[in-house]
């Protein structure tokens, strides 16, 4: 069970609390066992902030993950939420099952580039198709950190390992795939970019369908050297931002006016607002086809493209399509899940 066991935050005089009266400590997790400087740690920090600032009830959050350094991180945030460190590359199916069982849960699934793009690409693709309510985060360092730095399927062509080995296979762009296949909020960020990543995570929490965030997260031990295309240095030098991303939650009624010419404002399902100040004149984050084209262009031009690529706040989610009752299936009473004797009798009669 969670390693912290603090009581629910009590408002004033105590420490600062969020809208549901919890302190930020109550969103923290255990001490990280990852390498000092690992990008993954920064992402965990951002998740803690975002959940705190959005005032999410930790007891209703689940944190499924696969296997890898990245997939260990759910142990380092939200100790008050249930975690499921499953098997390698199969987090999507476990997450799907859990959401089927209890539609009221908020699911943040953490994976790595190996866990997702190598062994897990099959389940990833089918998850994206379903638009399951989930925040799917790839902590993307281009290598298998936990097995000591072999290339994963997101490694760029020509990227170099410490050993000097060059990657000769094209990378899988998980964002392009996610958009192509049906995810409804897709973006890429960088573990080093607090502002952008926080805004994206909050938008993710406000979204009702599949959110897919590919977060470039350097592996300081195996893939942060000269010649790597997933190093802090490389990303800083080659990052190309599509927009300046900011987010206004529904419970804060700030009402800034934005010039539609320079900013795309997206109203999320829960009324929150996602503001995208254009850095590229004619990019439209609601145009699926355009988004894919732009992503492919970025590969062609060797850019590390970040920002929100595609968003569709209203598309029906998988749970909507299944048209299940409002209460969680997990806790339906027997009276509802076991039809009466008359039903059995009717069935028997039919078979006589």
């Amino acid at each position: 069970m969670g390693t912290t066991s603090v009581e629910p935050g009590t408002t004033a005089p105590g420490p600062k609390t969020n809208r549901i009266g919890l302190t930020v400590i109550e969103y923290k997790g255990g001490k990280t066992t990852l390498c000092a400087g690992c990008g993954h740690n920064a992402i965990s920090e951002r998740i803690i902030e975002a959940m705190y600032e959005m005032g999410v009830e930790p007891e209703f959050v689940i944190k499924p993950s696969g296997i890898g350094c990245s997939s260990k991180t759910p142990a380092y945030f939200l100790s008050r939420s249930h975690s499921f460190n499953a098997v390698h590359g199969r987090m999507p199916s476990v997450a799907t099952g859990a959401m089927l069982a209890n539609k009221k849960l908020i699911c943040i699934g953490v994976s790595g580039d190996g866990d997702t793009a190598s062994i897990g690409i099959g389940q990833f693709i089918h998850l994206m198709r379903r638009n399951l309510p989930i925040i799917y985060i790839i902590e993307d360092n281009g290598v298998y950190g936990l097995t000591k730095g072999q290339f994963s399927a997101t490694a760029d062509l020509g990227s170099k390992l410490k050993t000097g080995v060059l990657n000769d296979l094209p990378p899988i762009d998980t964002c392009a795939l996610a958009v192509q296949l049906g995810a409804t909020l897709v973006g890429r960020s960088f573990s080093g970019d607090k502002k952008q990543l926080s805004a994206m995570l909050k938008a993710a929490i406000a979204h009702k369908g599949t959110v897919m965030l590919d977060v470039v997260s350097p592996c300081v031990t195996f893939n942060d050297h000269e010649g790597s295309t997933k190093s802090y240095k490389y990303v800083k030098e080659h990052e190309e931002m599509l927009q300046e991303v900011s987010f206004v939650p529904h419970f804060e009624d700030i009402n800034v006016e934005y010039d539609a010419g320079t900013t795309v404002q997206v109203t999320m399902h829960d009324g929150s607002r996602l503001n995208l100040r254009k850095l590229e004149e004619d990019f439209d984050p609601t145009d699926k086809i355009g988004a894919i084209t732009r992503l492919n262009q970025a590969h062609h031009d060797g850019e590390v493209l970040t920002g929100i690529f595609y968003v569709n706040p209203e598309a029906p989610s998988f749970i909507d399509m299944l048209n299940v009752v409002d209460q969680p299936l997990a806790t339906l009473p027997d009276s509802v899940t076991r039809p009466g004797k008359e039903v059995l009798d009717a069935c028997m009669e039919e078979l006589r």
Partner: protein
């Protein structure tokens, strides 16, 4: 015929004029996709309606249309509804196999064939009936394109006449078969009648076989095991179903979809269940585990290849201790094997499915009734023991038609196992997920969404201590594994007990399970009547084995373990479980041909092993 293993023997009903009533096997040889299925069902039902115990087995190819198919109907006054090797009455509709089918008959059997096939030329020790189907069909069915279908209903009428099946029952069966489709019903009825009339006018009955009314089916139903399982799961309170189509398990979920859509929709028109077609079996079991972890009663259904693909997740379920039910409708392996043939070949690999020290609970139904009742057992055990439960059915049980008593409404309440809610935690303050509080090896779990700051725990397939915290400590690991062992031991006294049938102070014991049951019960009578060999019979219904199993073996000089696989898989599990002194008593009767096990094979082999 291409798929049996008969050695010609004198058929009971030879030219000799003694009447044989309500004891025969009829085989219809056709081509799949030719729509003969409904004709065969009509034959089956009409005999059933006359009160005669009956079973129908379909031997179909692993393709969709155009290959040979054999449907065998067995009517037996004593209620033997297992497969019978010998065919007494052949309806030869498939030119491709007609010759081999005819040649492999026992002398004295009857053959009903399509005139142009001229099968009568083949042998002179059989009774032949020839029918000019096309002529007859042409008369009753003006629409040319319907004739192919209707043709099959003609033989139903002919058979009815030759075996004295009441045409009124045929009509009743046809009406039930085509339900709302009145036009189709009338057309088919006409065809059957035409066949009946033709036979009456032109064929002289020479065979000794008769169907006569009796009262052995009153109140009974006809159903296949997969439909029974589907019903069972619905009444077991199943809420999440995931699946990936695979023969012979697909019909279980497809039938369940129909039932659930009809009976599990809430007043608000919303479903009290979720059924998801996954992208493959790894995803299906992953979803089952995710749902079970989050508190649903979740299940999937598959067959051998799917079971193999589930291996890694099966170990996760065992080690993280997540409830879930997996139906394995066994077909013939290894590999793709014979997808449309039956076996009991996944027993051993499923018991130890996954690497490391992993063990699983298995339930083994032998009848439609048990497919229904064990569904509730399986879900209850899965949640009580917080582990995966495999229900080992097979193709013969799952896809064939079985006569059955109507199912009893489950008296066992739904058991959700040790789950701590908010109130419990308010009382306890906190909990340790994997602590053996009650000494039964079973810990307490919480569900995501429980509003208590200490409700959460970290589920992981890696090493963990009682508090579910990551641990690589040798002592934590060993203690946890020992507790898992204790839990499995506890299960012994909770799984369904075996069924014991005693002979008269018998020294020989027979152990069987699943569909082997039907051949065994018939064989035991053959052993008694033909060889004066008394046997006691224990039918296994679950793994791990209960006390009764050991006692049974202790009480018998030798014990034959009958099963439908090559490697004596259940006997192997027994060896691993038994006191060493008892093992010498076990003898294997393990065989696999893909065809349901028949009584005669058991009797022949057992007697020869008994030196008779």
């Amino acid at each position: 015929m291409a798929t049996t293993d008969v050695v010609p023997r004198e058929s009971a009903g030879g030219m000799n004029k003694k009447r044989i009533v309500n004891d025969m096997s009829i085989q219809v040889a056709t081509v799949n996709g030719s729509g003969s299925q409904s004709s065969n069902t009509v034959l089956l039902r009409s005999i059933f309606q006359m009160g005669v115990p009956v079973s129908g087995k379909n031997m179909f190819p692993s393709n969709i249309a155009g290959l040979p198919t054999w449907y065998t109907i067995r009517a037996n006054k004593n209620g033997y509804i297992g497969r019978k090797k010998e065919i007494d009455f052949l309806v030869a509709m498939n030119p491709e196999t007609a010759t081999e089918d005819t040649m492999s008959l026992a002398a004295g059997a009857s053959v009903l064939y399509d005139e142009p096939l001229a099968l009568h030329k083949l042998r002179d020790d059989l009774i032949f009936y020839s029918v000019p189907y096309d002529k007859i069909v042409a008369q009753v069915c003006p629409e040319a394109k319907l004739r192919k279908l209707v043709k099959n209903m003609v033989y139903v009428g002919v058979v009815a006449n030759l075996l004295t099946i009441d045409m009124a029952e045929i009509e009743k069966a046809i009406r039930k078969q085509f339900a709302k489709k009145v036009k189709a019903a009338n057309l088919n009825l006409a065809a059957a009648q035409a066949g009946f009339e033709y036979a009456k006018a032109n064929l002289e009955k020479r065979g000794a076989f008769y169907i006569e009314r009796m009262d052995k089916t009153t109140g009974k139903i006809i159903i296949d095991g997969n439909s029974a399982a589907a019903l069972g799961c619905m009444f077991a309170g199943c809420t999440v179903v995931t699946w990936y189509p695979i023969t012979p398990s697909s019909s279980l979920v497809e039938t369940m979809i129909d039932y659930m859509k009809e009976y599990r929709i809430g007043p608000d028109g919303k479903a009290t269940f979720a059924i998801v077609q996954a992208e493959d079996e790894l995803a299906a079991i992953g979803m089952v585990i995710g749902a079970g972890w989050a508190g649903a009663r979740s299940m999937t259904a598959t067959a051998g290849p799917g079971i193999s693909l589930m291996s890694e997740f099966a170990g996760l379920g065992y080690y993280v201790e997540v409830p879930g039910v997996i139906w394995d409708i066994q077909r013939v392996g290894p590999s793709t094997g014979l997808p449309t043939r039956t076996s009991q070949g996944d027993i051993l690999s499923t018991a130890f499915l996954s690497h490391g020290d992993t063990k699983h609970i298995m339930l083994i139904p032998c009848s439609a009734e048990e497919c229904f009742s064990m569904a509730t057992d399986a879900f209850n055990l899965a949640e009580q023991f917080q582990t995966l439960v495999f229900v080992m059915s097979d193709l013969d049980l799952g896809m064939n038609n079985w006569m059955s008593d109507p199912f009893k409404y489950p008296e066992t309440p739904i058991k959700r196992g040790k789950v701590l809610g908010k109130e419990d935690l308010d009382r306890l303050g906190s909990f340790a997920r994997y602590k053996d509080v009650d000494g039964d090896g079973i810990g307490y779990r919480t569900l995501p969404g429980t509003s208590h700051p200490n409700a959460a725990y970290f589920a992981r397939g890696s090493g963990h201590n009682e508090k579910a915290q990551y641990s690589e400590r040798a002592d934590d690991f060993e203690n946890n594994m020992e507790r898992l062992n204790r839990k499995f031991e506890t299960a012994r006294s909770f799984v369904p007990r075996p069924e014991l049938t005693k002979g008269i102070n018998a020294k020989i014991g027979i152990i069987g399970y699943g569909t082997s049951h039907w051949g065994i019960t018939e064989s035991r009578d053959q052993l008694r009547d033909e060889y004066q060999i008394e046997t006691d019979y224990l039918r296994l219904r679950a793994y791990p084995f209960t006390r009764e199993v050991h006692e049974f073996i202790e009480q018998h000089e030798h014990v034959y373990v009958v099963e439908q696989n090559r490697d004596a898989q259940m006997l192997s599990l027994l060896k691993l479980d038994l006191k060493a002194e008892l093992i010498p008593r076990l003898r294997s009767l393990a065989h696999i041909t893909g065809l349901p096990l028949d009584a005669r094979s058991i009797t022949d082999e057992l007697t020869s092993m008994e030196g008779r």
